[in-house]
Symmetry: D2
Subunit: 358 residues, 4 copies
């Protein structure tokens, strides 16, 4: 293993593993923070000093008093956040390909006690006002026969490696406000979006109308650390009871909070994300030169969805490349998904491109 | 901080903190295992190599092919295990003071979709057949009007610092079998019980009729690592879907599994538990000599429930002692609970006794 | 079948059936109202004219603008009412022998998504402030670990045939207010209580601090007609969605509303209840003269819980008497429950007493 | 009100009300049966004699031992039936416009505790194998991340007034079997379909592979009477507990069962349905001659979805016609829905056509 030069910290993990950023481990600074937190005794269930500091730290980063609740999985963050905002008779509008709609086994439906996820098709994984408004027309406001649209959930960065601009979020937020809905952001890859946009975290969250954010760190270098961030106290409602009742209040929470603290320290989160994004960009640029390659979406974060000839795909796999088919093969080519992480090695990227070029 | 001599590993955390074993940190061997697991890439969501090894390791320890599912909290372990075994129309018989009945905010009721917890009073925190049978008589078998008793849940070691003997478990298991019920064991302090009994793990679980065990490591030196252990494959049913759907399937699970692996390595779990138990025993012995002290239960694990004069309680608190009142003060004395951990220092125990003696 | 003289309407059903008031049929006036409602067309799902009139009628009877929602079972009324008032992390204090605790298969737990029913023992089926306050002390206010007491539920008339006085309800209501809880009344036999007390419906409901009433008509002469009555609009919250989502919004609701309208017309409900109560009183008076008979509770509504020698019980059964054992036989006698209805015949009562006297 | 000649029974309700069959009342034979059931006493909660007879009657009609459970709403029938067959982690494939997907406020999602309804677009409201198979490909079998397709739900007659043929059902059933799924039929208008097809009830249910049927009577002349019909005992599972726990077990069930018994007596159900279907057919034939009219679907039951010029729609409404817009007006015309019932008068149909012709 070599030490990456970009910020003098990450130990790159080799192996051409582009299956998921979850396949990678922990950033050394975060691992060290866990060790450092192992001092003396402290209160359990989140009443500890590190968790207390976290509130201030997040508030500083988001330039506003925010309300932060650590959990250990993105599924928990999304389901608990949405269940807090959306009643059992509610409906949540989201992209048809979003994680909550496709990959969480109906967790939101469970935690909301049967709210309806309305999955909408939209280009590049991004919802837009007309699509949302068309969907809203299907639900009669105030009719007990119809689930009542109560939230829009967007993903930043999206499942397709694209990124919402501030004005895009504002436009969706306006639709939400007009229709009495809340705006939730699944930020499992929030840092990746932010690293691309280069704006303040506030600009693409509460300033743009986001009510609650699932703030992810796990995919970007933590062991298991996510945070539900509410931007207004009134929205917190009974969140803390929901977290406890669903088994998501860790007794030794300070070790989760320590991960988040380290993640946010000295810009680590953005450095890690920038590194992952950089690898994706290089991968996309390299693959653009491969015969028959076709990028499905702009590469704006740490994912590359690219259509490649089936023989290229096969060659990459036989050389050890690890990645998902995103769709079944079709007419001689396959859409594959490549995810890069903070610890993806430059050699892996270079090798992958080289092998793809055949 | 000094190094404890007992097994040459634990760094004791000083502070006369007897509030909970959760207030203590991580055993060094377990912290090291997290670091060691941070190598290369691996599959996520439990398809990794460490989690795979865990199945074999638990099977070895329990002398039987078991089915092991790591989660991050005891509440999750209990609620998911019981929800897998008990239908929505079921009832679960447990001690009135058990964690699932008192301290988990109705998590079992949520995950079972409304099964009824029937809390039974019983001496020393331990259920016994006549108490269970009396309760069963209240429910008409097969009547849709009554929740149907579907499981007995016992806690080992109990909330009161006592320990079930094998034959006590067998007797409850016989009642369960006769009535078509399953037997669940909340083993948040399973190692503490085992360290006291000195028997094989199998002897007080499946050999005694336990169907599913919530195996705890968090209170005894892990960061956040519990395991649901099924002793028969058919009982696993849809557990894996339940774990995912409730947000308890960690993406980087290998870091939870690594904790469990280290915990079980070379008897660490029993050494840690023995150390905690030893501190409790010394505490109980010392407090027995305090004027007006009255032990509420036999001290068989790492908890001491003792009634002390209110002035003694006040003196201990003003000297920095941290602990819970277990009941409101009454007639000049108070029942307090003292919990020791693997990292409770000998000095703390000695000081506490000395101060109590006044 | 003979016509009862008391109000010139009810057709008495013979058979010494004292098992439940549910075993009896429909009052003729209510059956006629169903026929009369079968005219022309009307809006479905409660938007019809009869349901609209019901709001005014209930408001008149309760001397206040109330919010009335018909459903078809008492279990539905209780579970929907309580789920509207109590969050998933809530607790509901009720009598240990109450219908919601014992006879509804955990319906409240299902509809609240896992709130905890706390069943309290109390004399004559009636909760009293000290009992409630003792129970409240077990729950730490604001702690996420403990279900939060959110409602008291009382039954009027009780399962034991007793009746709360206005001042008793006021005292419980004061405890509820002080502790931020709501007061629910299960009025499956509300008319029976009212017929005994002779006060205004308002006096034992909102004037005494009741927030929501499950108003029963089924046991007292309807086919299947209950109403959830909220005394303040703000408490209605999302009740209407809950009713629909749980399948309890009948499409042809006017036929349920017609039953309620007839029930309330010209005091029919109180006449029917008075008739049932009268039968119970005569039964109790007659049985008082039976050797070895021991009334378990004051007979204040339409239920008689009486301990009789086992040979007397056997003789009654062999003569065709139908009733429940309320407890298993003990020391030569058995506590049985006798329920009278609006249609219990005077001959049945007389015969039952005669046979009991042997 | 006049007496309809077709079978000498129905009292037609005038008013050009084509909004829903739910807007009409009760067939006289069914109303009489309620009166007739009001004799003496009987056991409650479905243990009565009429409900017992119902099992035999349904078994006779379906030519097989079936398991019949009366409930009072179609929403309850659908949600309870599907929740019995589909786990919380399951998915249910249905038409995008089906009642369970659109009009029941997420009742199925509530009762299944969060299963996913997958609404599929398909011509004329009818699912077909290729559409189902394409949808199935989106769910990875055995992956805990994806809800597992567990049932197909079809509606007979459909929401669009069309009817599945036996071979169409068989084809869907084959897909269900191949994929380990159950087949549910929402038969809110089952009689209407049967009246059109003229086949045996068995032919389009269990002989064609249907596992469970929501058998509706409410829309076709009952007050509130539906039945969940299981065709195999093993599929009943815990249905009876679910019905009770959700408040859907009526205490005086015999009055629901009496409706169903009368409905099935002497072919009444088919006569009523034939009458409703006939009105729809005449309506469709008449409207075919209206300038600018365009039937959206074949008229095979008691619904007509027809596009009419907006001025025609306005003229019909100002003449008293009552009906729903099925879609918002578009380009000068609107798709409206007209539902006929057993009690729709011939005059209303004739008048409506006459007014439409202008």
């Amino acid at each position: 293993m070599g030490v990456d030069a970009q910020y003098g910290g990450v130990v790159a993990a080799p192996g051409m593993n582009f299956r998921s950023d979850n396949c990678y481990g922990v950033a050394p600074e975060i691992a060290d923070a866990i060790q450092a937190a192992n001092q003396g005794t402290d209160s359990s269930y989140g009443d500890d000093k590190i968790t207390a500091r976290l509130q201030a730290r997040f508030s500083e980063i988001f330039e506003r008093d925010v309300h932060v609740y650590p959990v250990i999985s993105g599924t928990a963050a999304n389901a608990l956040a949405l269940a807090t905002l959306v009643p059992s008779h509610g409906a949540i509008l989201c992209h048809a390909g979003s994680h909550i709609a496709v990959d969480e086994c109906g967790s939101v439906e469970l935690f909301t006690h049967g709210a309806k996820l309305v999955g909408l098709e939209a280009a590049n994984g991004k919802l837009a006002p007309p699509i949302v408004e068309t969907a809203l027309a299907r639900f009669e406001k105030g009719s007990v026969h119809h689930p009542q649209p109560s939230a829009i959930s967007i993903t930043q960065a999206t499942e397709f490696g694209t990124v919402y601009r501030r004005e895009e979020i504002e436009a969706l937020s306006a639709v939400a406000r007009t229709n009495g809905m809340k705006l939730h952001m699944d930020g499992a890859r929030f840092a990746n979006a932010l690293a691309t946009l280069g704006c303040a975290p506030a600009d693409i969250t509460w300033r743009a109308g986001v009510d609650v954010l699932s703030f992810g760190a796990t995919k970007n270098g933590a062991i298991g650390a996510e945070a539900v961030v509410f931007f207004a106290k009134k929205d917190v409602r009974d969140f803390e009871y929901r977290r406890k009742k669903s088994g998501h209040l860790m007794s030794k929470m300070r070790f989760v909070s320590a991960q988040l603290e380290a993640y946010l320290h000295d810009g680590l989160w953005l450095k890690l994300a920038a590194r992952a994004n950089g690898s994706a960009t290089r991968l996309a640029e390299g693959l653009a030169g491969v015969r028959g390659a076709d990028l499905a979406h702009p590469v704006e974060a740490n994912e590359v969805l690219v259509r490649l000839p089936d023989e290229t795909v096969a060659r990459l796999r036989s050389a050890g490349g690890i990645f998902y088919d995103w769709e079944p093969p079709q007419a001689g080519s396959t859409l594959i998904r490549l995810v890069t992480s903070f610890a993806t090695s430059a050699e892996d990227v270079a090798n992958f491109i080289r092998i793809a070029k055949g």
